[in-house]
Amino acid sequence: MNPPIRVLVAKPGLDGHDRGAKVIARALRDAGMEVIYTGLRQTPEMIVNAALQEDVQVIGLSILSGAHNAIVPRVMDLLRANDMLDVKVIVGGIVPDGDADALKRQGVAAVFQPGASLDAIVEFIRGSVLEVGPGKI
């Protein structure tokens, strides 16, 4: 049996609205994944560092403040600089369609907008991690 998928759920930026992040973290845990939740107000550096330390296969970024265009590219740059592009990045929150397309062009695996179902997110993570194998564990 494959070891459980390891996911870092992170809240970057100044936004304190953590309802979504917490619900997702719990849903992923209930789906059998190992979930590390960073807590609030993490800088891109803190997030990538935590992803490295925790050896995760997936980073989930929850952003509701509209600051995604400033924050997400910095996370992607840091992953690139650390040779960690095998880590899948998914973004959840209030991200308009146009911005979502732009984020995907920069390497984000998926953007989940309001109303996305928990099962769809779980399935997406399972599918995308299986594609690249069971990870480095």
């Binding site: 100044l14 304190g16 609205h17 917490k22 800088t43 509209g66 600051a67 308009p96």
Partner: protein, 532 residues
């Protein structure tokens, strides 16, 4: 089909089971004189005024703010021309967190969720052309509330308006930040001291200003049930009362200026019951627990806002209907002022067109629907009275548990309200996932979305704010800024009321970030333990 109906469990959106029918048997021991009395009479279940909206409609107060203070000021003038009767300022995240627009952590966030205010200069621009002696202004600011309030009072001075004539509301409710919204800067106890400073300052200098708006709104948005929203909010209120009494104020000196803010969510009757129970519980707490004598201390006055978390990204025009139903619940529940959300707010801050429809929704309720003709029109309904009693009971149980923990700060430090809310929000989300709770357009009746026009806030707001701030830092008397900040630091270390010191710093054009840094040095910063 009939089988399915028979087996389906009927619950409120908070998960409270509902009986097939309500009649006299559900109100067997109900004493209408004791539980209800008349509108304007203790325990105010039916409303705080004898005539309610016959005397005066609720205040239609749309919360707004975006980008620069210049642009927000233009929106305020527009809203006042459209018949809005009060202003309500939304600040951006850097402002809410006590950072200037040019701080590293503000990058990408300036003006996104509200107006960017870093100094007295920005507040002067925000209030330009608005007579502060006539228009009441509500400010949604918490951790740095004392600083923004000082800026506002300094602008009133410049306009030649006496502070005794200034009216409005400061949100200033730090407890719900630790519980739900998480926009805190300092640890709970020094934060409570700042809140108590503003209450005390208000009692002495601004008799028409509400120094605090004790808020359940954010607790509900974070996923609580209606009963949790009610219980945690009122118990927060009691905590503020205890701190003010500890400071040496008399209960009837400050209690009449305490105000509240509740969510108007989608479960129509549950919400109405919540407001009615809130008035009753507060009246009893103030009289029986704190010995208040002044009638005004017993009356719970509240603002309400329709539920942002109920708005859907899918089929956004449906949000107009949701908002109208929620607003009706707030009005039938006897609200003193109301914000109706705009149809596009699941996407962005509202466009001018969307906010106009939201305001018109209130005007239609107030002037066309007839619901304002008589107080508490649902009073005496078997169903509404039963729900009100149950709501009161559920909140009372929470009061007891929190009292046993040693009060709200102790409960927050244990993570109690936080985990109650997180559990409730997970249960709800699971129910949506299982289609036990239907959300039109999201997990039922899906269809292709119609695109809508959105308000865009670009990077120019940030550049504008940063440039303005650099010019201010170069222009002002920096010696005086240092002096006032030193004095403020010393006051924070001692026990004096900090408001006069904040006012001096603000008048010298010390920035929000500089003032909050002075407090950070003395009080430290708060970091919560993250639980899933």
């Amino acid at each position: 089909m009939d089988m399915a109906v028979a087996e389906k469990q009927h619950t409120t959106i908070s998960g409270v089971p509902i009986e097939p029918l309500y009649g006299p048997e559900q109100l067997a021991d109900f004493d209408a004189r004791r539980e209800l009395a008349a509108p304007g009479e203790f325990p105010y279940t039916r409303g705080i005024h004898e005539t309610m909206y016959r005397g005066r409609l609720w205040t239609m107060r749309q919360f707004s703010g975006f980008a620069t203070p210049e642009e927000t000021n233009r929106r305020y003038h527009y809203l006042l021309q459209q018949g809005q009767t009060g202003l309500s300022v939304a600040f951006d995240l850097p402002t809410l967190m006590g950072y200037d627009a040019d701080h590293g952590l503000a990058e990408g966030e300036v003006g996104k969720c509200g107006a960017s205010i870093s100094s007295l200069e920005d507040m002067e621009i925000l209030c330009r052309g608005i007579p502060l002696g006539e228009v009441s202004v509500s400010m949604t600011i918490n951790s740095p509330a004392a600083v923004l309030w000082a800026m506002y009072l300094a602008v009133a001075e410049q306009q030649g308006v006496d502070w005794t004539a200034v009216s409005g509301t400061l949100q200033n409710d730090i407890l719900k930040e630790y519980i739900a919204q998480k926009e805190y800067i300092f640890p709970p106890r020094p934060s409570m001291r700042l809140v108590t400073d503003t209450i005390e300052f208000g009692v002495r200098h601004t008799p028409r200003f509400n120094p605090i708006s004790i808020s359940g709104y954010h607790i509900r948005e974070a996923g609580s049930t209606a009963a949790q929203e009610l219980a945690f909010t009122l118990r927060d209120g009691m905590e503020y009362v205890e701190w003010a009494l500890e400071r040496g104020m008399q209960v009837d000196e400050f209690a009449p200026r305490l105000s509240f803010f509740f969510n108007a969510h989608s479960d129509f009757f549950e919400e109405i019951a919540k407001y009615r129970a809130a008035r009753k519980l507060w009246a009893h707490a103030m009289r029986d627990r704190f010995g208040a004598k002044d009638e005004r201390s017993l009356k719970l006055r509240f603002h309400s806002q329709t539920a942002g978390c109920s708005l859907t990204w899918q089929q956004p025009y449906n949000n107009v209907v949701r908002t109208a139903i929620q607003a009706l619940a707030a009005v039938l529940g006897g609200t003193q002022s109301l914000h109706t959300n705009s149809l596009d707010e699941a996407y962005a801050l509202p466009s001018e067109q969307a906010v106009t429809i939201a305001l018109r929704t209130q005007q239609i309720l107030g002037y066309e629907s007839g619901v304002a003709n008589t107080p508490d029109p649902l009073g005496g309904s078997y169903f509404v009275e039963r729900l009100t009693l149950d709501m009161e009971q559920a909140a009372g149980d929470y009061f007891q548990r929190i009292d046993e923990m040693g009060g709200m700060i102790a409960a927050i430090e244990k993570g109690f309200p936080q985990s109650e809310i997180a559990n409730a929000s997970y249960v709800y989300q699971r129910a949506v996932e299982a289609k036990e709770k239907l959300v039109v357009g999201v997990n039922a009746f899906q269809s292709e979305d119609q695109p809508i026009e959105l308000l865009q806030i670009d990077q120019t707001a940030e550049e504008h704010q940063v440039k303005k701030l650099a010019a201010l830092r170069a222009r002002r008397d920096n010696g005086r800024v240092r002096q006032t900040l030193d004095a403020l630091r010393r006051a924070a270390e001692g026990t004096d009321n900090t408001m006069p010191f904040i006012l001096d710093a603000v008048r010298a054009y010390a920035t929000l970030g500089e003032i909050c840094d002075a407090f950070r040095e003395v009080f430290g910063s708060y970091q919560e333990t993250a639980h899933i």
